[in-house]
Every structure is written in structure tokens, then in C-alpha cells.
């Protein structure tokens, strides 16, 4: 389905990819939101050299185009805003046994590695989506919930992915919502299609990382899901693939490392129509590295 509508701009549509700033207060869902004729767009950018973040880049080394029009980068900073991490784990039947034990271990290590100011939530899915722990700073609750996971059933990956994006914490300047999705399989019981999920992801303004367990160890004849790669790209994050469940702990650590090394660029769009889809491209000038950012953002017609 084609993208046709979007959201009212909010003061902080952080969600990992973009922050649109404004000045007129409105009320939505009990949270203050702001509107303005002049919007500042913030873009959450990862610059990596292989699996290592590239530090020390300056404002002069970034170039941004908005719908093909070069924009002036106003600020750049290494992002130090606390994370609000939604961990979404596939606990379908194919994860039974050693894989689940490795996943629990990886999840617990990830939770223990969070900083005190970071928050996290836990969602699991098989055919049903289970909201295990709402966003919290309470590590013990998260660890206990992880410990009690068991694996059974089919895979409602699309629905879980979508609902996790909707359940992300209300955006504030004080935290950066990130969704980390783990799955070992292809969807087989969701209502939403992959195309619908992709469209929702483009509008979610949530930074999304996907960890996928592939290869012979999964017992699946499928190759890595092309959909998961597309979703990670649309969410401004990456797809990380594990050949064995034993690799999950290390991969989750790498995701966290990457999350801590992102740049926050801001610009005020000029010479582009305000409403509709904005195709954003970020490149480097005089520096080397793989740049990852959301492919754009959507502004709803007023």
C-alpha cells in the first residue's frame, strides 16, 4: 500500500532516526507536542569501518540532501542520550533447547551491559505477542523475565515487530527509543504483511536493529529473510546475522556498541516541500566509513 499520510510533528520524534522540532504546543495522548513552521530535523547516523565505529568526525565531514536538495548541517554530536531499548525476541518452537538458552544468556548480558540511565522493555513472540516487561530501569525484573522464557509455537514476526514499534516509549529528548528484534525464522502466522510492516517502519521514527539467526543451525531451508534486511534499513539500523546461537551474545554486544557510537546531525530543511515523504541522504566528505541512517521521514498533511 502506498504511503499516504503521516503524523503531526512532535517536539521530539527521536525514535532513533529523526527529531523534528517545533514551537506551538498541542496535546496528544497526554504528552505535550509542538508544531511550527520551521522544523529542525535531527538525523541519527551510524558511521562504521567494518564492525568498528568511526569516532571524531566533524560537522564539515557530513553532507546531507533532503529530497535531493543539499542542506546545511547545523550541528553534529556524538549521541550520548540514554537508550530506551525495546528488546523483541522470537520464542517460537524452533528456538527450543540450546538456542533458547543462548538467547537468554545473550539477552541477560545485554541488559547487564546497559548504563544506569538506560531503560529497556521486553516483548516476546511466537504466534502470540507477549508484553513481558514494560519499559523500566529495573534490571532484575528484566533478567528474571528473560530467565523464565520458554519456546513453543509459530512465528508472528510481522505483528510482533509492528506492535513493538507502537509500544515504544513516548518520545522525549531524554531518551532514544531503539527496537532490537531477534528472530530465527520467517513469518507464518501474522495478520500484517511484510509490505505493510515495511511501510509502518518507514513511518515509525524508531531506530531498528535486527539480529537474525540463519544457516544450518536453524534447521531451516530458507536463506536469510530479505524482509528483515529491508526493515533494518528502513529503520536506520542494521541487520546482524548469526550463524549459530552461540554468536548471539557477541552480536548483541556489538549492537549495543554501535548504538553508543552514533552521531546526531541536525538541519533546518530549506527549498523542499514541507509535507509528504522526505528522502534523506547522508554522505561523508574527506572521511571514510559506512554511513547508516534512516532513508527519510514523513510529514503528514496538516
Amino acid at each position: 500500500m502506498a504511503a499516504r499520510a503521516g503524523d503531526a510533528m512532535t517536539r521530539s520524534i527521536a525514535a532513533g532516526g529523526l527529531i523534528v522540532l517545533g514551537t506551538t504546543v498541542a496535546i496528544a495522548l497526554g504528552q505535550p507536542t509542538f508544531r511550527s513552521g520551521v522544523d529542525v530535523v535531527n538525523i541519527d547516523v551510524s558511521v562504521m569501518n567494518g564492525l568498528s565505529p568511526v569516532p571524531g568526525l566533524t560537522i564539515e565531514q557530513f553532507a546531507i540532501t533532503d529530497n535531493g536538495v543539499p542542506q546545511e548541517v547545523q550541528s553534529v554530536s556524538l549521541d550520548t542520550v540514554p537508550l530506551s531499548l525495546t528488546i523483541v525476541l522470537d520464542t517460537s518452537g524452533s528456538m527450543e533447547g540450546e538456542r533458547l538458552r543462548d538467547l537468554i544468556d545473550a539477552g541477560q548480558t545485554l541488559v547487564k551491559s546497559l548504563r544506569a540511565e538506560d531503560a529497556a522493555a521486553l516483548i516476546t513472540f511466537a504466534e502470540s505477542v507477549q508484553f513481558k516487561v514494560a519499559v523500566t530501569h529495573d534490571r532484575e525484573r528484566l533478567l528474571a523475565s528473560l530467565k523464565g522464557l520458554n519456546a513453543a509455537g509459530f512465528t508472528s514476526l510481522n505483528d510482533a515487530f509492528f506492535l513493538a514499534m507502537q509500544l515504544r516509549p513516548i518520545e522525549t529528548f531524554e531518551s532514544r527509543p531503539v527496537v532490537l528484534v531477534f528472530s530465527d525464522g520467517h513469518d507464518n502466522t501474522s495478520w500484517l504483511s511484510a509490505a505493510q510492516l515495511l511501510e509502518a517502519t518507514r513511518r515509525s521514527r524508531t531506530l531498528i536493529h535486527v539480529v537474525e539467526l540463519v544457516g544450518a543451525s536453524t534447521g531451516s531451508f530458507f536463506s536469510p529473510s530479505p524482509v528483515l534486511g529491508d526493515l533494518a534499513s528502513a529503520g536506520g539500523g542494521r541487520r546482524w546475522t548469526a550463524q549459530s546461537s552461540r554468536d548471539l551474545r557477541d552480536l548483541f554486544g556489538k549492537v549495543l556498541n554501535e548504538l553508543r557510537s552514533r552521531y546526531l546531525l541536525s538541519y533546518t530543511p530549506k527549498a523542499v516541500a514541507r509535507e509528504g515523504w522526505h528522502d534523506v541522504k547522508v554522505t561523508l566528505k574527506g572521511a571514510r566509513g559506512d554511513v547508516t541512517a534512516r532513508p527519510g521521514y514523513f510529514v503528514a498533511p496538516q
Binding site: 503524523d7 496528544a28 509492528f162 507464518n188 501474522s190 495478520w191 511484510a194 505493510q196
Partner: protein, 347 residues
Amino acid sequence: MIMRVAAIAVAALLAQPDRSAVETYREAVAAYLASGNAAESVKPLVGWTNEEFEAAVQAVIRRADPKELEAAAALHLEIGIAVVGLSTGGAQAYFEHGSKLVDAVLPPAAIRRGVSAERLNEMTMVSATWHRVAASAFLSVNDGVRARLFANRATRIAPRSAAVLTVQGMIDEVEAGLSNPDDWDGVVQQISSSRERGRLLVRAEESFRAAMAADPGYPLAPIRMGRVEFLRGDFKRAQPYLERGSGLAREPRHQFLAAMFMGALQLEQNNLTAARRSFERALVIAPQSQNAVAALSFVELMSGRAGRAQQIARAFTSARLDEAWWAYKTGTLDLEGLQWLRQRVRK
């Protein structure tokens, strides 16, 4: 469903009472007849081998008590449905025994002359419904092969039944849905998958047409026919079928399916207002339906109402995973047939 399975699994660890197997089996059936509680009634039987079940089932068949046969068959159906999500092979074993029991209710051809037409029709309906529900249980876990096995038996018993014909069509429809070209990277595999999908949809259409001809008042056939047209991308043809099915639907699950399929169609036609109304109606019928929550939240997001999309998702709490939840989730488990059989047993 999962909790019921757990209860049965725990009971499996219990030691067998020192009584004859047939007696124990009959007591379990009697307990189910009295209480309707399958998970409790079955406890003395869990851990039995297939041979032990076979011996007890044959003994009950030899006794030829229609009430006991029907109750035992229903109990096997309950157990099979409870375990089908964990083991389709295990479920099949329970269903095979149940199939023998329910077939035994129907008198052999040689003595049917002495049976009233009304009783014969009644027993035919029981057996056909029983096999149809068993087929739908496999269909709900995407096991088309086993679903077909039991649907074919239902067809032999009641070849003109609209409900049975509809289950046959649903097997093809679900298998067509599973034959997704997008799951493949290779072009050859994509083409092959696409052709298979087309072939299955044609067969599904034939079954649904036959069902609509057999009983124009049966709502599920036009609802699923509308879904077939939707899957083909023929939205113009899908709409009147869904409207017809929706108009006929009296059972909540049928109304729910009609609303969900209609909403999906309206969404594809970019009629977001109508899609919202359809999914809201579905959510009223089944407030804890994950499908309806995801669908409605998605429509709100596409409508530019991200806050409302979040609100709907946040209001959703994961429901108890019983067979009703499962029936609404997959849309294929024949909940009405199962409830009808239960009510008969408890009469």
C-alpha cells in the same frame, strides 16, 4: 490451549491406577460426560501407549453405546486439539482413535434400514462435523496434509455439506497462502511457487462455489470466496462475496472474519475510513484479537494518527491462549463445530 496442554502433560507423570485399562478409560469418558472438563477427565489416561488406547477404544466400540461412543470421540477431539500446536503427529493419533469411535456411532449400512431417517441424519451430521473439526485443527497449524486426510473423511460422510466443502476449500486457500513467491530468492522457485499458488486458489474457488450452491445461506463459503478473490488481487470481485458473507453471518467468528477480510480489502483500496470501521467492528467482536489490534493500529498509522495507533497497541494485553483465541487468530479452527459437539455430549 497451551495451558490445557500443560495440565495434560503434568498429568502424564502420574502413575497408572491399578485397574483394568478399559475400566479406567470408560471412567475418564464418563467424567468428561459429566463435567465437560477434558483436561481433568483425561488425567488417568495420559502416558498411555497407542496400543493401550487402541484396546480401550475397541472395547468401547464393541459395547456400542451411542452416548458413550460420542463422548469418547469428543474427548479424543479435545485432546487432539489441545496438543496439535505441539505435535501434529500426536494429535493425529488421538484423532484416529476418535474417528473410529465417531464412525461407530453411525450404524453399518446393513442395519440402517431399521434406523429412522432423522436419527441417521443426526448421526451423519455428528460424524461429518467431528471430522471437519479435526481437519480444521490441523488447518489451524498450517498442516494441510493431515487436514486433508480428515476433511476427505468428512466429505465421504457428507459430500454435499456446505461446511465440509468450505473446509476443503480452506485447505487449498491456506496452502496457497503458504506458497509465497516472496519467500524465495531464485526466480525459478518464485515462478514455481506462484504457479502452485494459482492452482490452489482455483481449487479453493471450486470448493467454495460448490458450498455456496449446496447451501446459499452458509456464510463462511462466500466469506472465504471473497478472501480467495482478494488473494488473487481481484478486489472488485472480492467485495460482493464479503458483503454477502457478512450479511449472512450470525456466529461471532464468522462476523469477525468477514469484518477482518473486508477491512483488508478496503485498506488495499486505500479506503482508510472504511477499513477503520471494519477493524473496529472486528475488535468489538473479539476485543483481545491480536490480528484486529494490529490491523486497526496499522490503519491509524497510515491515516496519519500515530498517537492513536500507539494507544490501540498499548491497550492490548496478551490474552489467555485458549482455543477461542486460537480460532480467532488463525480463522480456521472450527470453533462452532467444536462447541456444537460439546453441547451434544453434555445434553
